[in-house]
Symmetry: C2
Subunit: 162 residues, 2 copies
DNA sequence: TATTGTTATACTCTATAACTATA
DNA sequence: TATAGTTATAGAGTATAACAATA
């Protein structure tokens, strides 16, 4: 795998672009690879889609949420949440009840089976996260945290402006 | 957006998992956001798919490649390359010729229109990369380069082992 | 009128496998 | 037999919009 150089040393040459040194490409490849290690759990072993896993994770920590809140929490759009919720309900991991305060809302929560599944997956997911981050020194982990926050803000701003 | 903590301070609590502090999720969100800023160029402005853009980028720098080599270079499978190549050919950005040395190979190269498109996109893509990375200090950029390489190796190893 | 949630539609991406042709 | 490339198919992700029920 080619060692990367970020933008600094080659800003002059705008005429060509080597994907192996192009930050958005490298980031996409890395995120894809990391995602797959987690997907091996929720997808291969527990037969959930990525969206279902995110909804499960949302309800695992928040217990009772409206679909709208899950969408905000998990960065899925409301349509994806609706589909994932339907999927989890069919599999018996989740149920809905009406919100008496606002009958447009469907309050969602995990069934005992859903919570059991969640508690099976979480330690495995955590172990994978831990293992991946063990490639870094403590200082690098700390730096990465700051870096990711900065980059997300910057990229978001850029995209908003088009 | 919640400030993140990476794994260090909370290894004890394996019972719950907050997506906002889960590294694979945060990385996926970041990569997605960065990808979109580049997609605004190749997709919104120049009507290419992500795969077509990768093939264009491959041929922009390597001039003449077999489909197989493009797949290796761009991390697409041969089927995705085949489709992207067909799309670019229809749009007049690419043509193929037979390799006299091995007639199974189709040698691919950009047409003048394809090269012109490439040279329009590249400086814009570079500018976006540069702008995003300007959120970081020089030291952070350097650290990130090392970090990404380490993480990719580690994640790849983990995934291979399942 | 605005919001929550569902359904419809279409396009893209991902994955596996069957197939053709060449080697 | 093995490799390069194409085609088929299905499941999953992404996006926009129309729609129903409720506020």
């Amino acid at each position: 795998m080619a060692q990367a150089q970020l933008v600094a040393e080659r800003e002059a040459s705008d005429g060509a672009l080597d994907l192996q040194h192009f930050f958005p490409y490298r980031l996409a490849v890395l995120a894809e690879e990391v995602s797959r290690t987690v997907a091996q759990l929720y997808s291969d072993r527990f037969d959930l889609t990525r969206h279902e896993w995110r909804v499960l994770a949302a309800l695992g920590i928040n217990r009772r949420m409206a679909a709208k809140d899950i969408a905000d929490y998990s960065r899925l759009d409301k349509m994806s949440v609706s589909r994932a919720v339907a999927g989890l309900e069919v599999k018996g991991y989740l149920d809905r009840e009406e919100d008496p305060a606002d009958r447009r809302n469907k309050i969602l929560r995990l069934t005992p089976a859903g919570r059991a599944l969640y508690q099976k997956i979480v330690p495995l997911a955590r172990a994978r996260e831990r293992h991946i981050l063990e490639a870094l020194t403590a200082a690098e982990r700390k730096a990465l945290d700051v870096i990711m926050t900065k980059l997300l803000t910057q990229a978001h701003g850029l995209r908003e402006r088009g």
